[in-house]
Symmetry: C2
Subunit: 149 residues, 2 copies
């Protein structure tokens, strides 16, 4: 059986994971370092926990066990994780973008010291991260589908 | 071939669509009527246009042509629309929720006349709408999968 490029365990998938890791961690660092609103910190924390558990698991699998057998159960778990994380990263990105726009439109002094630019970059990175998670999910869905044909 | 309950053209799907219609229109009305920030109105408009085009098409199909042949092409289009709209409704809901929380935490007078409660209800309805779109997408994916087996 031919392997779908980008599906779990391939080198394209590894590259996707590395970019996801880079984008999401940069986004998280720039968002969480100096933010003082509880609701966004809370969502950041939920992010970090879920992301670190599911994502590092998938990374470890794809790096250490490079020639993984493509079992439907493993692929389903990875696919489910990708879908959940893509929704989470989209909601985080939208929340950050909306809050930043609100800060910019209401209260100019709130955006001192390039704070708002930081949050905008953070939201942009979270959006990019969402797009990469979506790519991973599509590749894994395709791979899962091709397992049965 | 047995029909998947909840897939395109069934009565469960029709009920899901009716609830989606109710939730999203109530959410939109309460969000757009008295909101004066451009970024949210813009996302509202994008919502309305996309939702009205894709969703009323699907509704008309499922109501008027009740015994639709389950063609893979039709199901794929409905599935794609559901996925896109579920992402859109999630992003709108998160944006509204985040903006409302920001309004509540920064500036108390901004939330006069039960304005913030309206927005919270609106965000809640948008979240419910997202959950229903996700249901529709899952049912249609299942139906599409069962077409090939």
């Amino acid at each position: 059986m031919e392997r779908v490029p980008g599906s779990f365990g391939t080198s394209v998938s590894f590259a996707l994971r590395i970019f996801q890791l880079g984008f999401s961690s940069t986004s998280l660092i720039s968002m969480c370092l100096d933010y003082d609103f509880n609701e966004l910190s809370g969502s950041c924390n939920a992010y970090v926990i879920l992301w670190s558990i599911l994502h590092t698991l998938a990374d470890t699998y794809s790096v250490l066990l490079k020639q993984l057998p493509q079992k439907p159960r493993v692929l389903s778990i990875v696919l489910a994780g990708d879908v959940v994380l893509s929704f989470l990263s989209l909601s985080g990105a939208c929340g950050a973008a909306s809050a930043t726009e609100m800060l910019l439109s209401i209260d100019e002094p709130m955006c001192g010291d390039k704070r708002c630019i930081k949050y905008q970059v953070s939201a942009l990175l979270a959006f990019l991260c969402w797009a990469l998670f979506l790519d991973s999910a599509i590749f894994n869905l395709w791979s899962l589908y091709s397992l049965f044909h």
